[in-house]
Symmetry: C2
Subunit: 146 residues, 2 copies
């Protein structure tokens, strides 16, 4: 049976996680609060729960605890409990956690050099949509230069 258009395509790949080698890292390192926490620990060194809380001004203690627990479980952060009154708990980045430092530096670098472009692109996209950009005749390509 002849197919009009669609030439048959193989399944291409089995596992999207495997297809994208960095997908697993995303779950570990990149969420709303994990990067700020790691950044704070890396930048300002070992510190207590309340210090982190003050630094990440808008975080709630519940979420801070959750993310710290996850980071501890993943071995990126170490927790030290001093049985005193009042209790003192200190968090520090581990060697494994520090191994992300160069990556973070690159990300910060990328941010400083490209974030503005993203902003401009967003603005252009939004105003285009708002003013009802004409869909002319032939192939329409959107977004800035390739």
């Amino acid at each position: 049976m002849p197919q009009t258009q669609a030439t048959w395509q193989p399944p291409i790949s089995g596992d999207p996680e495997q297809a994208c080698p960095i997908a697993p890292v995303v779950d570990i390192v990149f969420s709303r609060w994990t990067t700020p926490i790691l950044w704070a620990l890396h930048t300002y060194g070992r510190q207590r729960f309340v210090e982190l809380e003050r630094r990440l001004t808008t975080i709630t203690p519940k979420v801070l605890t959750q993310r710290l627990r996850q980071l501890e479980r993943d071995g990126l952060v170490a927790r030290t409990y001093h049985p005193e009154v009042p209790p003192r708990v200190e968090y520090e980045i581990t060697e494994l956690g520090s191994s992300l430092a160069p990556l973070f530096a690159h990300l910060a670098e990328w941010a400083s050099t490209h974030l503005e472009q993203v902003e401009r692109s967003r603005h252009a996209y939004d105003t285009d949509r708002a003013t009802g950009a004409a869909e002319t005749a032939t192939a329409v390509r959107r977004a800035g230069p390739a």
Copy 2:
């Protein structure tokens, strides 16, 4: 007025977003599907909607559309619409999107060298919790070597 314990701490910082320079990037690049999409476009080049759909085996068309729209708006991906029947739409990574390539390479590198450590840490943490690791006397430090 002498304070018992807590030496006063300054507000430390105003804005957590500003405190962590890579926080803004996280929203743009790192979510469940954005990295696999960017990876696919970067690795296999310009391709159609259905090709991406097949490559990212478990993604749904709705989510794929959403993420592609966001990437287009942010200028990381370009969409080309060919008014034919049936319609043909091609997506490709932009120059701005490609600027993330070295970063992705580093992330993939980190994954290949450190993911196993994370797995081990998780396992150790879980078995520790399960067997009720004794909280001895003095300072207790958890997680692997600093």
